[in-house]
């Protein structure tokens, strides 16, 4: 039985990354390094209004006074922020693509290779029902279905375009959930953010299709600092998905994104992430540092924000998608699967801040560690004084595959209202040799058995994903577990 678990670890480490190719395309990069001039240059390239430049500069000046957080259960060499390229873009022909026909065919090929549909024709032919915003390094290269969505008053565009077309909305909500002073990485993002997606769903509108952004890092030595802002007006509904991949490179690359969600009265936002950034090689060399700030605000009464994440990539993941439950009767949810294998590290979880009355939050976290992977759940539930009748349920389960990995759980609970109800459950299990043997004895290969057992373990999270993505997520997990046992 020892033999099986040893080979499990070896095979896990030998697992290959399928999205590691590089697109050969003419890039426009600015020199590495960060200064006020760089911030001004980024803003100028995007032809931004003065107020946004000022906001960026305030963030940059504040960032200079900050230090990297040290409390997370992760370890890495110091990051040299002066060696990072803060703006990289595929060279524009003219003033940027107006329609898909103008997008560089190399880029379209890239997304095709990644399985991301950018041709509306194909999508309309019934392949899927998703509108996509494709972000390549620092810029959005294409957004599909804009016209159709616009008929319903839905705005779905790149962030840069939203700044030009809907400055009043951007100005009102930018930084309203994650202020530029929030934390080291969010502040850095506020200074240098490049592109991202912007969504506005008007009053009473139920978005008829999944909206999604696909992030791709391609350029070498560049960081990706995208910013996403989603606003669901009263009674609106939207389901949003993001996916991400990057080429295999020996250097670590920084990804420091910010996502802000705002839900007004009776609005619902469902935000799903399938994160598959390059995790580094079998010796832990290279890979993305994924330091991301995601937060939603249930501003209105009976509003709901639901985060679902499947985190399988990145050398290091540091993210805590959170919900501020301000409106009475609002609901916050967090469903997470985090897989660490090889030398990956994840410190992830959520914060639920209960402010309004009868607010509810639900946390389900599933951590899977294999190889030398380290997986930490860090969650905070805060019930403030006025949050009468607040309720929280947390469930944190960890699964270990092999002998050299680790699972850690740090739940923080702060209750200031005596009527609150809290429940916390935590389990740690080892993927049993006896489970694998049982599957083998029924004719199922060890590889299929591991994949089946892990998928079973994650079921409660996968069922929260939109149908087709749930299938994708299961496949992704299977691919990541491929060769995990010999």
């Amino acid at each position: 039985m020892e033999t099986t678990s040893t080979s499990t670890i070896e095979q896990f480490a030998a697992q290959e990354y399928k999205f590691g190719f590089v697109t050969d395309i003419e890039q426009e990069n600015i020199p590495p390094g960060l200064s006020e001039d760089v911030v001004r240059l980024i803003s100028a390239k995007k032809e931004e209004p003065e107020w946004l430049l000022e906001w960026r500069l305030r963030a940059y000046r504040h960032w200079l006074t900050m230090e990297e957080p040290r409390w997370a259960n992760i370890h890495h060499a110091p990051i040299d922020y002066q060696s990072i390229i803060y703006y990289a873009a595929p060279k524009a022909k003219g003033s940027g693509p107006k329609s898909l026909d103008e997008v560089d065919p190399e880029l379209l090929k890239t997304y095709e290779k990644l399985g991301i549909p950018l041709h509306e024709r194909e999508i309309l032919a019934g392949v899927s029902n998703i509108a996509v915003d494709a972000v390549f390094d620092s810029v959005s290269v294409a957004t599909t279905f804009k016209a159709k969505l616009a008929d319903m008053g839905i705005i779905f565009s790149s962030f840069s375009e939203a700044v030009r077309e809907h400055p009043e909305l951007v100005k009102k909500y930018l930084g309203s959930v994650v202020p530029y002073t929030d934390n080291f990485y969010a502040t850095l993002n506020s200074a240098v953010f490049s592109d991202g997606s912007f969504v506005y769903i008007p009053k009473g509108v139920r978005c008829p299709m999944e909206l999604s952004t696909y992030f791709r890092i391609n350029a070498k030595n560049s960081g990706q600092f995208e910013r996403t802002l989603i606003i669901a007006d009263e009674g609106a509904h939207v389901s949003y998905l993001e996916g991400c991949t990057a080429p295999m490179r020996d250097e670590n690359q920084l990804h420091a994104a910010v996502v802000e969600l705002v839900a007004l009265d009776n609005a619902t936002i469902k935000y799903s992430t399938v994160q598959n950034w390059y995790p580094g090689d079998e010796n832990g060399k290279g890979g993305i540092y994924n330091f991301v700030t995601k937060r939603g605000k249930c501003e209105g009464r009976a509003s709901k924000i639901s985060w679902t994440q499947v985190e399988t990539g990145s050398a290091i993941t540091w993210k805590y998608p959170s919900v501020i439950l301000k409106g009475d009767d609002s609901i916050g949810e967090f469903y997470s699967v985090a897989l660490t294998k090889g030398w990956q590290q994840a410190d992830t979880g959520t914060k639920m801040i209960h402010i309004g009355k009868n607010t509810k939050s639900n946390i389900v976290s599933k951590g899977i560690s294999a190889g030398h992977g380290q997986n930490t759940y860090r969650g905070s539930v805060k019930i403030l004084k006025g949050a009468d009748g607040a309720r929280n349920f947390s469930q944190c389960d960890s699964m270990l595959i092999g002998q050299d990995c680790g699972a850690h759980t740090f739940p923080y609970i702060d209750v200031q209202n005596p009527t609150a109800q809290m429940e916390h459950e935590a389990t740690t299990s080892k993927i049993g040799e006896d489970q694998i043997f049982y599957c083998n004895q029924r004719g199922i290969s060890t590889e299929d058995a591991v994949s089946m057992i892990v998928n079973g373990f994650c079921k409660e999270v996968f069922r929260e994903l939109p149908m087709e993505f749930a299938v994708e997520a299961q496949k992704l997990l299977a691919v990541n577990l491929e060769g995990s046992v010999g």
């Binding site: 049982y438 599957c439 083998n440 994650c458």
Partner: protein
């Protein structure tokens, strides 16, 4: 169908099986009886291919093939089934999903196409009736929260669906009340057929009241010390294992 020749097996350097010779013909039902620690379950697990057991000597031929050369999954696909003494729980994986994966792995090995959802459902319903299994157990995660009796019945149900050539039942009767025992035994009896052999591993004679064996072998201290017809089980029931232990303790030729 199954030939075991001079089989020696060790666990962590301790020899548990010390030269087993056994032949189970096609279609026969053989029982292996013995007290705790005699090596009964070790024999079952070695046949299924569990890795902790080290074969130091001897061979096992199944349908003319060297069984010990095969991985556990290959043995299963070749038609060796073991009903576990302690069936394992797999949370979040439904019984039907699991069985479909298992059946398709077996079918693929035999050069058959994968069974589709409708065919599978029809098959499962039919087998469910055969072994008196409740439909609710189908949709629950494999063995999770099942009672002891439900787990054992689920094993028999898996056997019915996978249609093995050789079924090894490892103390399937242990921990069952009389009604559950009868249901399990009925399940085995309906699956008894000319081209399928059974090896029943049991501590008690009780099971053999319901499943009548063709041969009974007594295992003591890693060796088969006596073989006989079904009446041997009754004799054991009456006298216990002590008289055989005493006989076995006599020096050779005494």
């Amino acid at each position: 169908m199954l030939q075991i020749k001079n089989l020696h097996v060790s666990v962590d350097g301790n020899e548990i099986l010390r030269g087993i010779d056994l032949e189970v013909p096609t279609g026969a039902v053989h029982a292996i009886m013995g007290p705790n620690g005699s090596g009964k379950s070790t024999l079952a697990r070695v046949l299924a291919g569990q890795e902790a057991y080290e074969v130091t000597q001897g061979e096992v031929i199944f349908d003319g093939k060297d069984l010990l050369e095969m991985d556990p999954e290959e043995r299963a696909r070749e038609g060796v089934f073991m009903a576990f003494q302690y069936p394992v729980e797999i949370p979040g994986v439904s019984n039907t999903y699991f069985l479909k994966a298992a059946l398709n792995a077996v079918r693929k090995h035999r050069g058959l196409t994968e069974i589709d959802a409708m065919e599978f459902l029809t098959l499962v319903r039919q087998k469910m009736k055969l072994v008196q299994m409740e439909e609710s157990l189908l949709h629950r995660p494999v063995n999770e929260g099942f009672s002891g009796g439900e787990k054992k019945r689920n094993e028999i149900f898996h056997m019915a669906v996978l249609e093995p050539r050789l079924a090894v039942l490892d103390e399937t009767d242990s921990g069952l009340d009389i009604d559950a025992l009868r249901i399990v035994a009925d399940g085995v009896n309906v699956l008894r057929q000319q081209d399928r052999s059974f090896l029943l591993i049991t501590h008690y004679q009780r099971l053999l009241n319901y499943i009548i064996p063709d041969r009974v072998h007594v295992l003591l201290d890693g060796r088969i010390v006596r073989s006989g017809g079904k009446e041997l089980a009754l004799e054991l029931e009456e006298k216990g294992y002590v008289w055989l232990e005493e006989a076995a303790a006599q020096p050779v030729g005494a």
